[in-house]
Symmetry: C2
Subunit: 145 residues, 2 copies
């Protein structure tokens, strides 16, 4: 099967298929006499695996490790789970960070009256070093004296 058909079936673009091949993530495809790449169901299955792991936010290096386990019939499920758990920890950390940012920003938005006046706690707070952030009112008041 042509690369574009493999792309359609796997949900991985032709660009990405060639790229994955170029970085050695997936094995180089067989070539036909035309020099066209030729794919079978096995290869498509592998591409689907890659896409699904990518969808779950694994980096290409993590995908590489998972692919190795996928191919290894003697792998232990322990290894697979370890990788998945490491990625989960990663996701949790990033989400915690985003939650903190969201909380801080929501507080600022809440404090801003959002009308025609130029007075704005959001701008005021962002003008200060992080140390004093969140204390816009007092600090700005002091600055006016």
């Amino acid at each position: 099967m042509n690369i574009s058909l493999a792309a359609e079936r796997s949900g991985v673009s032709t660009k990405m298929i060639r790229y994955y091949e170029s970085i050695g993530l997936v094995a180089a495809a067989d070539r036909r006499a035309n020099n066209y790449r030729d794919y079978g169901d096995q290869e498509v299955a592998m591409l689907i695996f890659v896409r699904r792991t990518r969808d779950l936010g694994f980096s290409l290096e993590e995908v590489r490790a998972l692919l190795a386990l996928w191919r290894d019939r003697r792998r232990s499920s322990r290894e697979v789970r370890k990788l998945a758990e490491a990625h989960l920890a990663n996701l949790d950390a990033r989400m915690a960070e985003m939650r903190a940012v969201t909380r801080a920003l929501k507080k600022l938005v809440h404090a801003c009256h959002g009308d025609d006046r130029p007075d704005c706690p959001i701008i005021d707070d962002l003008s200060m070093p992080a140390k004093q952030a969140g204390k816009a009112k007092a600090v700005q008041a002091r600055a006016r004296k």
Copy 2:
């Protein structure tokens, strides 16, 4: 003040200060006779503003818009809040996506016994097109027949 001192005070690396200047995010710094960039407190304050907005996850283009409002004393706080709210919506959407991914992955991890056996629902699930995902047990069982 030297660029490295401005970097230290603002928390923006010298690399980034020069980069921000090169893309026109911040105005080109004054130069001294040596051709060294020269910064004052005003410029440092602006860099702090940039760093703080970056810390809150605004893109450089968003920072550019916020900087314009920062400089404009006749801005309306409404405009500022609108930008902040748009960014919050963005953050919320991304977090929702991550939560969904986390949930799916946690379910898989939970289903994996994680011992010496090669049998692994994580791998099985990832081998399937998204449509059938999460139904690993049934699908794999059918496959074995």
